[in-house]
Amino acid sequence: MNPSLAVFRGLKRAKINFAVSVPCVNLQQLLTMVSEDPEIIHVPVTREEEGVGVCAGAWMGGRRPVLLMQNSGLGNSINALASLDFLYEIPLLMIISHRGCEGEPIVGQVPMGRLTPKLLDAMQIPRFSPAPAQAEETVANAWSLAAAEHKPVAVLLDLQFWRKA
């Protein structure tokens, strides 16, 4: 299973119809799929924190939003996740390319890569890291959990995930 296609099918199964993104090299194929889907409004933004705001507005407007991002952007999103999504109990699905873990060629990605799971855990944001074969179901379930609990939920996909074709 193509890993990008598996994630995309999960988004479609969850009836996600609003995608906000900041790119990562590992999200390339997924971003193209989302852009070309006529049922999904795709809103590229300049920074992940901004994306948390756009997703919150879209959800208030009746859409099902996803934020597609790299884990480096988690750091600049934390206040928004806490004082917007947690405060008002707004659901959010985050598909996060997890850099800085095993096999990472860029040293600058490593510190944030190591911290990312701990930051999500400290914020009590549920996180899931499926293999490609389970990604469709995990992504769909992650949205269901976000919607049921009215909070952000993360699907954290590392370098190994994207390499499995």
């Binding site: 809103v43 920074r47 507005g57 959800w59 407007g61 917007l84 008002y88």
Partner: protein, 192 residues
């Protein structure tokens, strides 16, 4: 023009246009709550800088509904990328009003960069926003509240003596989303 006067003008315009009104954290939301509380008002209690982004998401999600955002100079300076994103998507049902009092009014009136000459209208124009205007007088602001794009309203520093918002975050959101769904169903009934 005092900020609360500009907010009152925007609140009246929003009511007349049946528009959603997203308001920046701090005293601006308190002033809006004091001058005209509507279910269509969303009062931010956190996430400084994101009023324009929340409003943009709403406007793109609900293109049939007009959205007005009341933001501040300090907050926009915290999220300048928003101007480029607004320019990129340019929804016709979206108006960002930046209440520029040249200071961080809710934290003790420390000067922002607009106090030193930073021109937010030029920054919005440079970001690619097609319609950018600045108003210093109430009459000008009234006219510009009918348009889209980005409007800078130059206002005096200082906060009105108004109480804190008496609604919980949940109450704010529930009222707001209730107004959105009521509006949709009444519109659908009119169409059928």
């Amino acid at each position: 023009m005092k900020r609360i006067e500009a907010i009152a003008l925007a609140a009246n315009a929003a009511e007349g246009q049946e528009a959603l009104l997203i308001c920046n954290i701090g005293f601006p939301s308190r002033e809006l709550f004091a001058v005209k509380d509507r279910s269509e008002n969303f009062y931010m209690l956190g996430s400084m800088g994101l009023a324009s982004s929340i409003g943009l998401g709403l406007a793109l999600a609900r293109p049939e509904r007009r959205t007005i955002v009341l933001d501040g100079d300090g907050a926009v300076l915290m999220n300048l990328g928003t101007l480029a994103t607004i320019a990129h998507h340019a929804p016709k049902n979206y108006l960002l009003v930046i209440l520029d009092n040249c200071c961080y009014g809710s934290t003790g009136s420390q000067p922002t960069c607009t106090h030193l000459g930073t021109d937010l209208e030029k920054m919005a124009k440079g970001a690619g926003v097609a319609s950018t205007r600045t108003a210093s007088e109430a009459g000008d602001l009234c006219l510009l509240l009918e348009g889209d794009g980005v409007v800078i309203a130059k206002v005096e520093p200082g906060n009105a003596d108004v109480p804190a918002i008496s609604l919980s975050p949940n109450e704010i959101l529930t009222k707001f989303m209730g107004a959105l769904s009521t509006f949709s169903s009444s519109r659908n009934m009119r169409q059928t």
